[in-house]
Structures are given as C-alpha cells and as structure tokens.
C-alpha cells in the first residue's frame, strides 16, 4: 500500500508540475488540480497508513488512527476546490478579454509600441 500511495503522489505531482509549466491556462488549471490531488493524498498519508482503525471513539476499537490529517484534508479539499474555481473563472475572463488563453504577458500579435501603450493603459 505504501508503494502504491507514494507512487501515486509522485506521478500526480510530476504530471501536475509538467502541466503547470505549459503556456496555456487550460493545461495550467489541470496541472493545479493534479497538484492539489497529490497534496491531499500526501496530507492524508501524514497520519500514517493504517487499516481498520476508526478515527473517532468506538466501543470495540483496539487502536485509533489519527483524525487530524483527515480533518486537514477535508479543509484542504474545500479550499483547493474553491481556488480552482476562481482560477478557472479568471482564466475564462482572460480568454474572453484578450482572445487567447496564453498565459504570457506579451500580447500575441502586438508590436513593442502597442505593448507599451497597453502597459500605460492598464495602469490607468
């Protein structure tokens, strides 16, 4: 089980980081999602891997697993879900306003003069 979990975290992190480094915001959002999955699984494993141990008090339990990482994972899932939604909305808005989903700051078809004009415009 340890190997499965560790390799899952590793593969998801690697894929997430690879996707994050892409130029288009869609793949970047996918990368963020994978990275947050990896983080959640990792956090979960921080309470040690154990089978048949309840996290809350039960009459017939001989041992307990640590409930805190599970609570942390729950919080982390909620937050990363909300954050991904924000990132998607912002990426969509950026796509609608500029016509492409490249994440780079340089306009795709702009001359340097236009870029300077845009910089001046945006600080207005």
């Amino acid at each position: 089980m340890e190997f499965l979990l560790a390799s899952a975290v590793g593969v998801m992190t690697a894929a997430g980081v690879y996707l994050l480094l892409r130029a288009r915001t869609f793949t970047v959002v996918l990368g963020l999602t994978l990275l947050s999955y990896a983080t959640n699984v990792f956090l979960f494993a921080m309470g040690r891997l154990a089978i048949d141990r309840p996290p809350v008090i039960a009459a017939d339990a001989s041992a307990y697993s640590d409930p805190l990482p599970q609570a942390l994972v729950l919080t982390a899932i909620v937050i990363s879900f909300g954050m991904t939604a924000v990132a998607v909305v912002m990426a969509l808005r950026s796509f609608l306003e500029s016509g492409d989903d490249l994440g780079a700051m340089t306009p795709s078809s702009g001359t340097p003069a236009q870029m300077v004009a845009e910089v001046g415009e945006s600080s207005r």
């Binding site: 994050l20 915001t25 970047v28 963020l32 990275l35 947050s36 990896a38 983080t39 990792f42 956090l43 921080m46 309470g47 040690r48 805190l68 990482p69 942390l72 919080t75 982390a76 937050i79 990363s80 909300g82 954050m83 991904t84 924000v86 990132a87 912002m90 990426a91 808005r93 950026s94 306003e97 500029s98 994440g103 700051m105 306009p107 300077v116 845009e118 910089v119 001046g120 415009e121 945006s122 600080s123 207005r124």
Partner: protein, 509 residues
C-alpha cells in the same frame, strides 16, 4: 481571557457581508460603512497595541479549547504592531480609493474588508494550519482586488498571480503535513517544545518541512528566486490595491519572524538556526535584483514594484541576521518600507490618470498638480532610497549598524550601500523624466471636456497623509525604537510566548 483579541478578525468578517448584502447598489452607503470600519479597526488595533505593551503575550483560545487541541490566537508586541500598521495603511489608502477607484468594479469595499480579515488573522494566529487558512482568505480577496477595474492585461496578470499563489498554497500544505507527521502538532508554541524531541531519523523530514515553509513565506515576501510574480501583479493592479498589497509582502516577513525564532531558535538543539544559511543570501540577492530592476523600469508602477522587491531584500537581510538588535532595525524598516512603497504606488496612480501616456517614463505634456506631485515623489524617493533625513535613512543605518558584528558584514554593507546608490540613480532618472521634461508634441489627455482637469482632492490628501506618517516615523524614531526593541526582545524570548499559549505547566503532558 481578553476577548478583544478576536475583534480584528470579527469586525471585517461581519462588515464584508453587510457591505455585500446591504450596500451592494449604494456606493455612498458602502463608502460610509467601509470608512467607519477602517476607523474602528484603527482604534481597536491601537487599543490592542496598548494592551500588548503593558502585558506579556496573551492567548485567546477559540471555543475555549485548550492549546494544543484548539486553535489559538496570540497577541504580543509583534502582532499588535503589525495590526496597527495594517489598519493605518488601509484607512489612508481607502481615502485614496474614495477618489473614484472604488466605483470602477463591484464589491470593492467588501473585498477590502475580507482582505483585512485575512491579514489580521495571519498576524494573530498561533497555529500554522490556521495560518494557511488565513493566507487563503487574504489571497481570495486579493484575487478579486487584483482584477478590480478590469482590462485584458490586468486580468492576465491576475491569472499568473492566482497560479503562483495556488502552487504556494500546495507547498504550504505539504510543509504543514511534513511537520505534523514528525511532531504531531500544528500549534506553533507546542511545536517549539517538540522540535528538540524529534528523533534523529525524522529530523530531515522536519527540516524539509520547515524550509518548505520558509520558501512559501519567501513567495509571499517576494524573495529571489520566487519574487517573479510581484512586478506583474503590483504593476498591473489598480493603484490603491497595489498600495494595500504593500502590507502583503510583509505578511511573509512577519511569518518568518514569528515561526523561526520561536521554533528554530537557540533552544531548538540540532534544528537551531535552520533558516540562517538560506535567508541571508536570498535577501541580499533580492536587494540587488530589486534595485537593478529599479534602474530598468519603464513606468512608475514598475519602478515602485521593483523598489518593493528591493526594500523586501533590505528587510529580509535584517531579519536573516536573527538577532534582537537586527530584528528591531528590521521592524522599524518594515513600518517605513510599507508606508513608503504604498505612497509610491499612489503617486504613480495619480500621475497616470493625469497624463496621456500614463505613468510611462517618457516626457509628456504638462499636467495638473505637477508641482505638488513632483514634490510628493521627491519626498517618497528620498524615503525609499534611504537618504537623510527621512525614515529610510534611519532604518538602513540601524540595519548596517546591527550587521557590524556579523561574519559576512562586508557583503551586507557592500550590497546595501551599492544598491542604495542604484536606487537613487533610478529614482532620479524617473523623477526628472516624468516631472521635469515636457514634450510639447506629446498628445494631451483625450478627455477635454470642461472640468475634467479638476481631479478629486482625496487622493492627494491620502498621499500627503502617508508622507506625513513617514515624517512622524522619523521624528519619533527614538521613543518608537524603545518600544520596538522590547518587541524584538519578546521575539527572542520564546519561553514567554510558549508559557502564554501552553500555560505554566507547559501543556497537557
């Protein structure tokens, strides 16, 4: 238990929904409520400051759960000082926003309050998972504020800002997980006691977690090599938003000052001084890179952004020395650099609405209030570059003085002095281009209806107030330093903080 401690979080948390629900369509009501909240917050922060200066660190247990089982808030001199700084900055910058910026998008005031809630929470919490949550609160609000006003370039910069911070949040969670896995606690005071007891085989995991946290705080504080998000974000945000963001980099600095002397200080055995070999070189690089950026800036907001990076470098150099004397210099410089950076963004904003070519560093036509803005810029530049007689000079002098005994004092002195020179050159060039040179052929501001040249006066009042605050900071440096030195002493006496949180018995064991 002092119940006032939770109010800096509760007040904005209550005010923001009221602003969304009751004042959604009424800008005047929103402004009145928002200003009232800001004034109230400043009064509250001042009261907490007084309370923190007459008492040892105080703990507030949420839900009355004893530490380390429940989440605790801790008020000491350092957090009270940061609260006052945030409240003061938000009040003055809000005045600027009332000049028209707040009407250019929706929910400006509500987002502002949420932002303050996150910032205040981060300053007060004594639990590092809770710190993560407050980081997220302040980040979500900052995403909204960052794209306030809209525009393709601003939204694009906003996307980058969101992505960088989401990666930072993932790293934060991984770091928290690593530290929890070997110490079994999320409470900072409890962690401080347990760092010594970590088994030798697990110590590498603890150190990895702690250094990851340092990197996360470094992202917030814009330390090289994770500073790259800052110029794009600050340079493209609306002027009042960028000015408020000046306190956000300080949240990173605060977190480093809070966690590392407490848990990885002298009492940490094998883990003591963990951040020292990393923080100082990174800080010096940040300083050098920021000031080179100042030289290369093409607009006033870019200039201000790189000046923020440079000043964070100076600040973190002092923090990285990890001694009470250097930390008190750092705290003074922190107050100064927050106000000075904010005022620079506001000045850049005022220049850019008055000129056809915005705040670009190019000669343009003459513009309204040029003399006044030039004077403001001059004072702000003196303060930021650390020339006498303003507070930047005192701050840098104290940092240089505190670095004298350090083993790498030569490097620190050289980098700080040379970078100050670069800063003076960069600001001199920028100021003379924008305020002195005029180009008669440059196009005038397009809107030329009668009265359009008359600008609202509140932004200028706000800038003047910030500069006055800098002057006061200089004039009352003596008494202020007396207070700050005690704050720094408190930082390096972790046992008092631990006593306050864990009780006299040292916890539950």
């Amino acid at each position: 238990m002092n119940h006032w401690i939770i109010l800096p979080i509760l007040l904005p948390a209550v005010m923001a929904p009221i602003l969304v629900l009751a004042a959604r369509h009424d800008l005047v009501l929103a402004r009145v409520l928002s200003m009232a909240a800001a004034v109230l917050m400043l009064v509250l922060a001042a009261a907490l400051l007084v309370s923190a200066s007459v008492q040892p660190p105080q703990m507030y247990a949420l839900g009355d759960w004893p530490a380390p089982f429940g989440i605790v808030l801790v008020l000491d001199r350092l957090s009270a000082l940061m609260l006052v700084l945030a409240a003061l900055l938000s009040l003055i910058v809000l005045l600027y926003a009332l000049g028209g910026w707040d009407g250019r998008g929706r929910h400006f005031h509500a987002l502002w309050q949420f932002q303050l809630m996150g910032i205040n929470g981060a300053f007060l919490t004594g639990d590092f998972f809770n710190l993560f949550v407050f980081f997220e609160v302040l980040l979500i609000a900052s995403y909204g504020l960052m794209v306030h006003g809209g525009g393709a370039l601003r939204v694009r910069a906003g996307v980058q800002y969101v992505v960088v911070n989401l990666v930072g949040s993932s790293l934060f969670l991984i770091a928290v997980g690593l530290i929890y896995s070997v110490t079994g606690t999320l409470n900072m005071a409890d962690l401080a006691g347990r760092v010594v007891e970590v088994a030798d085989g697990d110590r590498a995991i603890l150190h990895t977690g702690a250094l990851l946290l340092l990197m996360v705080f470094g992202i917030k504080a814009a330390l090289v090599p994770v500073h790259f998000w800052l110029p794009g974000t600050y340079g493209n945000a609306a002027a009042p938003v960028a000015a408020l963001f000046a306190i956000m980099t300080k949240v990173g600095a605060y977190s480093i000052l809070r966690l590392f002397p407490l848990a990885f200080g002298e009492g940490a055995g094998l883990s003591s001084g963990l951040a020292v070999p990393w923080l100082l070189p990174a800080a010096l690089l940040t300083l050098a890179l920021g000031m080179i950026g100042v030289l290369a800036a093409r607009s006033l907001t870019q200039l201000a952004s790189f000046a923020v990076i440079g000043s964070m470098g100076t600040l973190m150099t002092a923090v990285g020395l990890f001694s009470p004397q250097a930390t008190s210099a750092a705290l003074y410089y922190l107050l100064h650099s927050t106000l000075a950076a904010a005022v620079l963004f506001l000045i850049a904003g005022e220049v850019s609405v008055r000129r056809a070519c915005g705040d670009r560093l190019a000669p343009g036509e003459g513009f309204a209030d040029r003399g006044l803005l030039a004077a403001f810029f001059f004072v702000a530049a003196i303060a930021l570059c650390g020339m006498p007689p303003l507070s930047g000079f005192l701050g840098k002098l104290m940092i240089l003085d505190s670095a004298r005994g350090a083993s790498n004092a030569v490097w620190i002195w050289a980098v700080i002095l040379v970078s100050s020179l670069l800063c003076i050159i960069g600001f001199g060039r920028a100021g003379s281009t924008v305020f002195w040179k005029t180009d008669p052929a440059a196009p005038a501001l397009a809107v030329d209806v009668p009265g359009s040249r008359r600008r609202p006066v509140l932004p200028l009042v706000s800038i003047g107030t910030l500069l006055a605050a800098l002057v006061l900071l200089t004039a009352f440096a003596g008494p202020l330093m007396g207070w700050i030195e005690q704050a720094a002493t408190q930082i390096y006496q972790p046992e008092r903080y631990i006593d306050a949180v864990m009780g006299e018995a040292g916890g539950y064991e």
